[in-house]
Structures are given as C-alpha cells and as structure tokens.
Amino acid sequence: MFRKVASSTFLLGLAACVCGNAWADGDSPTINGKLLLTGGVSEVEGAAGGGLTPWAVIGGNGTASQVGGNAHETYIHTQDFALNTQGATIGVANRVEVSIAHQSFDTRDAGKALGLGANFKFSQDILGLKARLLGDAVLDQDTWVPQVAVGVQFKHNENGAVVKAVGARSNSGTDVYVSATKLLLAQSILLNGTIRLTKANQFGLLGFGGDKSNAYHPEMEVSAGYMLSRHVIVGAEYRTKPSNLGFAREQNAYDAYIAWAPTKYVSLTAAYVDLGDIATFTRERGYYLSLQGGF
C-alpha cells in the first residue's frame, strides 16, 4: 500500500514540479512566497485546508502576483473500507483556487455483504473553486478579523445506478461553503471554521439527497491546530454531515492529525480518523495518510 501511494504521488508531484519550473523560468527569483504550512495541506475533497475540511487559505506557495500549485494523494483506511483520493490544486495571486480530485471508495469485503460484490468501488470526481474575500490569516495579527473565503465543490459520482438504488436522489451535487481561518501566531494556534450547504451522502460517495431528505443542510466543520515547530503542526478536526438515506444512518466525522512539512514543497499528514457509521457498517475508524508536493 505504501509503495503504491508513494509512487503515484511522486508522479503527481513531479508533474507539479515541472509546471513550477516552467513558470519560474520566465519569472523573478521571488517565486514561492508563502510561509511554511500557511497554505494548509490538501483536504480529502481537494481544496487547501486540513484533512477533512477546507480552510480559507489559497493552496500553493504563490503570493500576490504568483501562481502556486500542488498535487496530492490521500489514503484513508478503516476496518471495512478504504478511500483513495488523488488531486491537484492551483492557487492564483493568493486570491483564487481551483482544485480537482478523484476519489475511489473501496468497499473491500463489505461490498459482498452489501450485495455489490467484493472490492466494489464507488468513484467520484470533484471540481473545486475557492475565492478569498478578505483578511490575511497569517499577517493580520493585530486584529481578530480572520481570512474569509467562499468555495464551491461540484461533485459527480460515477456510480449513478447504485447510489440511486440505495435511495440517493442524484449522482451529482454541489456543495457551497464559507470558511474563516485565523492563525493566533503569538499562541502558535491555528483555528478554522467552515459552514457548508450540502446534500452529499458520505461526501457524495453515496450520492446526493435521499429518501429521508433531499434538502440542502447547513453543516459545521471546525479544526484547530498547534504548531510545534516551523515544520510540524498537530491538531484535530470535526465535521458534521447530513443523514439523508433511510437504509443506513450517517454520522459526524472527526480526526486528530499531525502534519510535517520538511520543506515548502512537500508535506506529509498522518491522522487518526473516525468517520462514524457507513452503509450499515458501524463506527468506521482508522488511519489517514496524505502526501503533497507543490510549488
């Protein structure tokens, strides 16, 4: 598993680095202007943020007149399921972020019990857009005003027939969110809060809307981190989710993470994650690993 994660992420990272050099050739040596870890890592849906939730930061190392980007691979493993996410993020002028991600949710042996066949995989593509509205999470240390961004995630589940058979109303959906991020630098604490309007069942992996509810629900996502050094931050996240499907309840998710950035171009995040009940399987808990390379 590690070898697979490492090799494909290396390729993604290499692709990102090639783009980076191409850009840097025609630009001043002042490229890569952001401070370490202040661009966050890549959350599970591709946006710059923590592990399970977007932050108001713009991905990549670019500042005002620069483009930055990164590629990432994330692997979550619980007792019965596994989720693999690959994606890339581009940040423009520290103002706008575009992200793409592909998720593959492996039902492993559970697939047989669910009548889907062992190792049945749900797949989902996510296109994310985010715009920073105001504030600077890192530098505005003399005010409580956070950095605020709005974002949208267009999600398309490739297993329409299956997700509709379990009660989902649609195999595509759009999440809209507002994030506020503040670094309390004197305390070395990073805080984030996100409000998301969503119909997604299990992030969209089980489709959107359901027999219980087909309305947009406001959901809350919070995270806090404590910087141990310039290179290491530890923290926790909590994310509420709707429960739209009658066949199995959906619960809230949380994680405790450690992220390590040996340089501005690479980060490794490891977490303990609790996703709650998934598709009649209870208390799905396990580990989360994410590797990111960027420019």
């Binding site: 202007g33 505005d140 003399d142 630098l185 004197a186 919070v222 949380y254």
Partner: protein, 140 residues
C-alpha cells in the same frame, strides 16, 4: 462532539505558560546582546538572499541594524525606545512585495533559530512584526 473537545485539551494545556517564574520575553531573546547577534545574523542572510539583497543596495546597513535592535527590544518589552522613522516612511520607494516580506520573515526565523530562541517565543515577536506588512509592502 465530546470526543472533539477531549482532543483539544492537550493544546489548551500546551498553550498555558508552564512556569510562574518564566523569563520575560526580552530575557528569552538574550536581551541587548542576544538581539544584536540575531540582527547581525539576519542581515548577513538578507544581504546575500537573492529575494532580498537588491533592497539593500547602498542602504546604511549598520544604522538600520542598530534601529532594528531598538525596535525588537521595545516590542519585546525591553528597556528601549525605537528612534527610527515610522515603518511606513522608512519603506517608501522600496516596492517590497509579499514574497520579499515573507523572505525576511524566514531569514529572521533562521537567525532566531541560530541564536537559540525557542519557536514559541519566536512567534510572539513575529506576531508583533507581522501586521507591519501593511506599512512595508508595495509602497512605491
């Protein structure tokens, strides 16, 4: 939710000062002698860093260093008064962008590391310096 609150407890504990007789921040930085070393090391780096060196062509570096020691000393609660020009006026005409500002932060972090200032004390100084970007940056 309860689990999340429990996860946060260690961070709250970590953020509380560990000793009632803690050093003052100024002492943690080594007072006047420590700040002089930090600023010397900072400028040794800024003058060769490709992201920042051009800004110091023909600049009165010795005088800037003296003023910077004063400013850091005052910000850290030491017995000093900054006698230089306001930051806004001091950086007029420099066209300092965010990348150069952040390069300065990184070089300062390196200088503080080199002089043994603990990371969390470093951040207390950086928190006071960070908002100055509004007066320093992009001022033609």
């Amino acid at each position: 939710m309860r689990a999340f609150v429990l996860l946060l407890l260690p961070f709250l504990w970590l953020s509380v000062p560990q000793s009632a007789q803690a050093q003052t921040l100024y002492q943690t930085f080594g007072e006047q002698a420590g700040l002089t070393h930090i600023v010397d090391d900072l400028y040794a780096e800024l003058l060769v860093d490709p992201r920042t060196k051009a800004y110091f062509d023909g600049a009165p570096v010795d005088r800037i260093k003296k003023l910077l020691v004063q400013q850091f000393c005052e910000l850290l609660g030491g017995p000093c008064v900054y006698t230089g020009r306001p930051m806004r006026r001091a950086h007029e005409g420099q066209n300092i962008n965010r990348a150069a500002f952040n390069a300065l932060v990184e070089d300062l972090q390196d200088a503080m590391d080199k002089n043994g200032v603990p990371f969390h004390s470093q951040n207390k100084l950086l928190a006071k310096l960070a908002p100055m970007y509004r007066d320093v940056q992009d001022r033609p």
